[in-house]
Subunit: 414 residues, 2 copies
């Protein structure tokens, strides 16, 4: 079975807004063994929307609409799908009552335009919306002799997700032949994609029944494995076998096999070992601390740190001797090490990270070009320093630098 997703809303055709619901819906459909073959974005335009619905009914088994279910004149998904099906809309008095109650609870009187949300396509089942006012709709039937499922979902992502989970997934599972799909996501940090591919392609290419995809970005490589079989055990066995072979090849370069982020892995390892971390950041300006503290509970292992942009603060907060900066420059192997050691001592942490570099686009010299970054990790066993020349713009240099630091912490904790 295949699916098509139609995102409705003129705002999704501006430079300022983008459909993101389809990523969530695609993930859920793939889990059911359904592939998404088309995505369309259509404005609040009855004719265009009706044409899109008709086209989708010709070519796709399952059609999911998101958006255009609200109370305003611009909300036209109900009308368009009814037109495409040649069916009428019927106002449902029970939904009207629910809407009135919802407004009354909040101390408002329902304005008349809200009644449009109770217009249900003949033959459709209304899907309750636990988080908003607009109900969804579910239509299953034969069109031109083909089985078709059409689902109308609200646009706000939290409403859409809740409705899809509780109302659509059980209905879809009941209609889609049970699928036996096993997946694995293996993640690696700070290895070139070409190197990973050269090493793992000879392995995964022998598994023609496992679809393998490599995704790369932000200093991270992801290998997605996916296998469909007649039984779940068979599918699991196949991806597990391939995953193990890839792990044998890549060793501890693989930091995650269940989709965890590197921040999460560092968090697990620090907590498991009862250790703590502190950071002194220059060119990354707080990005490392921000990434680590994006996890709730990070106060258990991240003590804090210093953003030491100025040389004076490198001395004041991270104990870097002024003479060291004078001698080697703020962007140097020596200063990175001193920052890591200094912040570790000042915070009484198990590990200290020091990052100094030229994030650019300005500030580069011939000796110290944009992208040159020193990352140091100080621990009980000593200090290691890595010199890297990162490509890309300021944002990417900072992202790579923090990724490198997290990877160094992870490896130190193995």
């Amino acid at each position: 079975m295949n699916a098509e997703i139609i995102a409705v809303g003129s705002e999704l055709l501006t430079p300022h807004r983008q459909d993101t619901n389809s990523l969530y819906l695609t993930e859920k459909l793939n889990d059911l063994g359904v592939e998404v073959r088309f995505k369309c974005i259509v404005g609040d335009d009855l004719e265009a929307l009706t044409a899109a619905a008709k086209l989708a009914m010709r070519r796709s088994d399952i059609i999911l609409f998101s958006g255009g279910l609200g109370p305003t004149e611009d909300d036209l998904t109900r009308e368009a799908v009814a037109d495409a099906l040649g069916l009428k809309l019927q106002r449902d008095p029970q939904i009207i009552a629910q809407l009135e109650e919802r407004f009354a609870k909040r101390g408002y009187k329902m304005t008349p335009n809200n009644a449009r949300q109770a217009d249900v396509i003949a033959s459709a089942a209304a899907l309750p919306n636990s988080l908003g006012s607009a109900p969804g709709q579910w239509i299953a039937g034969k069109y031109d002799g083909q089985d078709r499922i059409l689902v109308l979902l609200p646009g706000p992502p939290y409403e859409l997700k809740a409705m899809f989970e509780t109302e659509c997934l059980p209905r879809l599972r009941a209609r889609i032949p049970e699928q036996h799909i096993a997946t694995r996501i293996l993640k690696m940090a700070m290895i070139p994609e070409s190197q990973v591919d050269a090493r793992v392609a000879p392995i995964y290419k022998t598994y023609t029944d496992v679809a393998t995809t490599i995704l790369a970005g932000g200093g991270e490589i992801q290998l997605h494995l996916r296998c469909r079989k007649d039984s779940q055990a068979e599918a699991e066995a196949r991806v597990e076998e391939l995953a193990e072979k890839i792990e044998d090849e890549m060793g501890d370069a693989i930091f995650s096999r269940k989709g965890e982020t590197i921040e999460q892995i560092v968090s697990y390892l620090l907590q498991m070992r009862g250790m703590t971390l502190a950071a002194a950041e220059s060119c990354t300006g707080g990005m490392l601390a921000e990434r680590i503290t994006s996890l709730s509970g990070s106060s258990r292992y991240f003590l804090g740190g210093a953003v030491v942009y100025s040389n004076a603060l490198k001395t004041q907060f991270a104990n870097v001797p002024k003479s060291l900066i004078d001698q080697h420059g703020a962007v140097s192997r020596e200063v990175a090490a001193a920052m890591a050691e200094g912040i570790r001592k000042r915070c009484l942490a198990s590990y200290g990270v020091g990052i100094t570099g030229v994030a650019g686009p300005t500030g580069g010299t011939e000796q110290k070009p944009v992208g040159l970054v020193y990352i140091a990790l100080a621990g009980e066993e000593g200090t290691q320093i890595v010199e890297r020349n990162f490509p890309g713009d300021r944002q990417r240099v900072r992202q790579f630098s923090t990724q490198q630091a997290l990877e160094m912490v992870r490896r130190a904790l193995l």
Copy 2:
């Protein structure tokens, strides 16, 4: 004139990748007075792609394809568009020569599959790719009696942007009647959308010839004004008049009228006054420093700061008396003020910011619930403290908190 954007690539139909080229293309098309009426995402499937091209030629004046121009078997955009037009592909020996030269320069011999990139649709002009190997294609002609422009662009965003700027914009400008469009973007921080709309809607609704859109998110409200007239002067005069009336109403709540970010405005103001900033962050964990230092040259006014997650570090780096934390708790008005004052003193900065709160999702209590944040700003003239209860998840609470801090710095500098 209206346009349709077709993003090509099976990876864009997975949960892991999203078309972003269309946002850039939409902005450029809108500037030319062209509206985007449809966006489609199609996989690497010749039949589906040919059908999408045919449909687009029926309903849209300008059709932009992104992706599917590379050397592999999956790259099918050339074939599909040729099929849709009923035209042949012709291998261009000049492009072959350029490709061979490109490979030779890098010390490689061109593999035969690369020659596919030299297949040009009869009647098309090849568009040179300054940043990659795959040339684009430009086709203008009549189909079913209608003027149509079809453009094939490479998928990688930097290649697409460079090619669109240098090759497509001049050609489009030559064919599209000159448009006179004036725009303004007014930005405000930390004001509820409903309050902005209640105050400015009565003003902008009287300007029926200016399209006004409100966008809200992350503690920022943007008002987009857009007017099309017979002359540029007339269009500029209309948006300027409306912008001034809105500014009269909203006063200095408006921080930007040329699209600058609040980080940029704070940067301008600090540099104009020769002042400096430092920050002590608890619940935002470095996000404020990260945002400020995302701008190149921020070392001129941002001295640095401390991420003081633990109470000990609040004392060590921001001089917060231990007794104050014991008495009021780490999340308190008093500690926020002490953090701001302490970090200002320690860094010898003109202004110091202190942020402490409960970012959640764990750690909330009845007295101090998730979302409670104190933001303090200390300067020569004293210290101001704001208490806020932010809604949303950890990421949003942190985003709002840093936005509030930037807005307080901005207002202090006015």
